[in-house]
Symmetry: none
Subunit: 231 residues, 2 copies
């Protein structure tokens, strides 16, 4: 999927710079600006190490130019349907639903963001194939432009999470047996033992132990046992 | 869940303002600032309609003050473990995994964010029960501070059903002290002690211990200690 970010008439250059930074953070670089504000020092400062994205942005004079070669246009809106324009803004997907909906597609996709003060015109909204809306507090739903871009790109980026291989099931079983043995050796009250043994299993179970951690825990138990007096 | 945002020595007032806006967007207001930069016009401008959150922020002079009454401390880091400090930064959860891990708990939880330039010191990282890291592009992984806050709050704002009260921060602290004492008493190798102590903190930290579980664990340790031979 080629994902393009389109900002429609952004008013503040700091926001444009911040948007480019977020884009580069999530591995995107295709930015189209529709009649943007002047982009000078502050835009460059906020873009930080994403200056290449800022300088590579394509400037156009209308939204239709920006999405000419795009298969799916996704509009972002903080407002999810009023009596008057309901058909324009619904259904509004959450960013997560949007991600699920786009799973498996390939081609040119654009996410478009409106002006900081007035969002989109209805004509612009009508150019969208889908609407996405970030679930926010009713008290203050209006997000900063670059924050909204960050969230959408976070969801749509396919960057994989760093994975920790879990401890081997067999080693975990040995750990639990070892713990039971320890409870035995310290004369843990018989009527509490089963309950406590289960509790330990639940605690370590939901901690999703790593291999090295299981070894360390067993090492601790071994040290304890060696220190205990012989029966 | 009472979610607190802690910014450690933020350098740019615009970022602090932006953070308050993101907090209010997602319905949060508990902000603690550790030795922040001066907060003047730019902070207010970026906070926009979240001026109340900015003005309500508590200023403290150390991270330990900021998390005194907190049961679970979550550190955010762009770096997820190097050869040298692996034990400090692992395992690192994605924000989504973090959300799943916190599902169902209630109590005081803090998410802490480091300096824009140098992040956290190792001592600060050691105060964390869990580490979360946002999956970003290898080419430019360093996110803007307020963008990182926005993503974490976005994920945590939809955590469901807070029913299980977390163990009290004070009792958890006693448990860790008790564990350290135990390692001492069993002559755990001195050169491994600090590493192992931190590992235990991470294991129990991410298990989100309930009050009864802390008591049981301490009961086990007491039983072990009673069984150990007198020096």
């Amino acid at each position: 999927m080629n994902l393009r970010v389109v900002l429609v008439e952004p008013l503040y250059q700091g926001n444009v710079g911040s948007v480019t930074r977020a884009m580069k953070n999530f591995g995107f670089s295709d930015l189209v600006l529709v009649n943007p504000c002047k982009l000078e020092g502050e835009a460059r400062a906020m873009s930080s190490h994403a200056r290449d994205v800022l300088e590579g942005a394509v400037h156009v004079s209308s939204l239709s130019q920006a999405i000419e070669d795009v298969s799916i246009v996704i509009g972002t809106s903080g407002i999810t349907g009023t009596k008057f324009d309901e058909h324009i803004r619904v259904p509004a997907y959450t960013p997560r639903e949007l991600k699920e909906r786009l799973a498996g597609v390939s081609g040119n996709v654009a996410v478009i963001f409106g002006r900081e003060d007035h969002g989109f015109t209805n004509d612009e909204l009508k150019m969208c194939d889908m609407i996405t809306s970030i679930p926010t507090s009713d008290i203050y739903p209006v997000m900063n432009l670059s924050h909204a871009v960050t969230l959408i790109l976070y969801e749509l980026s396919s960057v994989e999470a760093w994975e920790n291989p879990l401890a081997d099931a067999f080693d975990i079983k040995l750990l639990y047996e070892h713990l039971d043995e320890l409870l035995e050796n310290i004369d843990y009250p018989v009527h509490k033992k089963e309950k406590t043994s289960l509790m330990l299993k639940r605690i370590f179970g939901r901690a999703c132990l790593l291999p090295r951690e299981v070894q360390t825990l067993r090492g601790i138990i071994r040290k304890i046992e060696r220190k205990l007096p012989d029966e």
